[in-house]
């Protein structure tokens, strides 16, 4: 396939993925918005008022970037894991396997579909947050790049989960037992500098800490982590996860007998 043909194939997957989550928008776009709105009300408004300020920002302003990032992470992940597993379950993955598409086109198409949903939900949540907090963007380029990189990373994670998954139960194990705890402990609701030294050290191995802080740096201009380190970690994870996903597809793990 030449580059034009590869681009046509890539855009076909992306369009299909976007069409899928837009077709079921009541399940894909609305629930995360409601969940995050509840976080704004309960943690931001009701509890946040009693907490006061973190640095120069109100508690509500402080948690907004983390909550936006949380919705981006969970939605980019769940979009790819459910979509790719569904193609396995219905065997429509065979449509792709019989075609001449290179593996990187398949992975890229699914990942961009996940990124699109992550950004769509992130945008909805950002709009909602305007009802609760004054939001200004300190650095638009860091903000956008950190969202795109994070959504890419978790879309790859969703892809890998879907390849290994043998049942619908398997696609909820990682989000429930890995993703949610890491997100809650990733500095969404607090600054990791508030933790005892030991737990601050433990937090350094949580990749979500780097993404939440990188994004918070873009919005508020403050971060517990050096922004260069945050970028380095996210890009490193993306490279590793992509290599893993490519290997799985090349050898047909969980896909070909």
């Amino acid at each position: 396939m030449n580059w034009q043909q590869q681009f046509n194939a890539f855009s076909t997957i992306v369009r299909k993925e976007i069409r899928r989550f837009m077709r079921i928008w009541v399940q894909t776009l609305i629930p995360p918005a409601i969940t995050i709105a509840l976080y704004f009300v309960i943690f931001g408004e009701l509890i946040g008022r009693r907490i006061g300020h973190i640095g120069e920002y109100s508690y509500m302003e402080y948690i907004v970037p983390g909550l936006i990032m949380m919705s981006v992470i969970t939605n980019s992940y769940s979009n790819v894991v459910s979509s790719f597993f569904s193609t396995k379950f219905q065997r429509s993955i065979e449509e792709m396997l019989v075609s001449p598409m290179p593996n990187y086109v398949v992975i890229g198409g699914f990942v961009l579909g996940g990124v699109a949903r992550g950004i769509a939900v992130g945008a909805i949540v950002t709009l909602l947050s305007l009802f609760f907090a004054h939001l200004s963007v300190d650095n638009i380029w860091i903000t956008i790049s950190m969202v795109v990189l994070t959504a890419t990373l978790f879309s790859l994670g969703g892809f890998i989960n879907a390849v290994y998954a043998g049942s619908f139960d398997d696609i909820s194990i990682v989000p429930t037992f890995v993703l949610t705890p890491l997100t809650y402990l990733g500095g969404v609701f607090y600054s990791i500098t508030m933790l005892p030294d030991f737990w601050q050290g433990v937090s350094q191995v949580n990749p979500i800490v780097y993404m939440v802080n990188g994004f918070r740096y873009g919005i508020l201009g403050i971060s517990d982590i050096n922004i260069g380190v945050a970028y380095g970690m996210v890009i490193t994870f993306i490279v590793l996860m992509y290599a893993w996903a490519h290997w799985l597809l090349k050898y047909g793990v969980g896909i070909r007998s």
Binding site: M1, N2, Q4, Q5, Q6, N8, A9, S11, T12, I13, R15, K16, R19, R23, S86, T87, Q90, R91, S92, E94, E95, M96, L97, V98, S99, P100, M101, P102, Y251, G252, R256, S257
Partner: protein, 305 residues
Amino acid sequence: MTTALSVHNLKKTYSSGFEALKGISFEVKSGDFMALLGPNGAGKSTTIGIISSLVNKTSGTISIYGEDIDRNFAAAKMNIGVVPQEFNFNQFEKVGDIVCTQAGYYGIDNQTAALRAEKYLKLLDLWDKRDERSRMLSGGMKRRLMIARALVHEPRLLILDEPTAGVDIELRRSMWTFLKELNQQGTTIILTTHYLEEAEQLCRSIAIIDHGEIIEQSSMKTFLSKLDRETFILDLGKDITTVPELDGVRSQLLDAHTLEVEVSKQAPLNAIFAKLSALDIPVTSMRNKANRLEELFVSLVERKR
């Protein structure tokens, strides 16, 4: 003549240890219409799965129109279209979208994909269903949808894995006509089927696979010429209790008014009718017990067991 498909020493052993293919080799010439036959579990679907990249091979080589499937994956895959045995499309997608999406996977731009989808959906009488979700289609329509999808990138080699399974006779015959025309227009076709009448009607060559080995490969004409005996069922006009003596003909009564006779292909049938007339046994109708290919196939497979 160009070789459309070349399979050489293809082996497949599943992780369970089951040896599905024991080093099969065969070739299909460009423009041919070949039947790949074999009993259930013989290795037909594994062979097709490997050719279409749905199953990993253990060893062996495959080339499609001269392009090695390992060394020049994309070029090889561009030439092949596959209609699988089981429905494998998204049940929630619209019919038109399924065909256009498949075109996209082959690098075809949107405009061309839409034109091709229209062409093949019309040819397969599905154009009126283009905006319906695929799960709403009948079984026969779903089979035709898979054919349209496999043709949308206009492959030179089309492989159909039991395309008429569970399809009513009227639809089956219309699919035969469609496939014959497609073959006449130059598409090489490989067909697996359990309907041997279908294979005999459509195909010009044949390969039989059993227990992971090719046990026969020849032209259909050559293969059928091996049949030296045929079995006929005669419906009798009156009930009889004993099997009539027919010289050189093996016969048996299936019931009081149905006689089965097995005759040499070279022997004239007139003698049988003359003898039965002499015995005052009228014959009201006559039919083949099984079609010629079926008789040969069964005898060949049974001989190997």
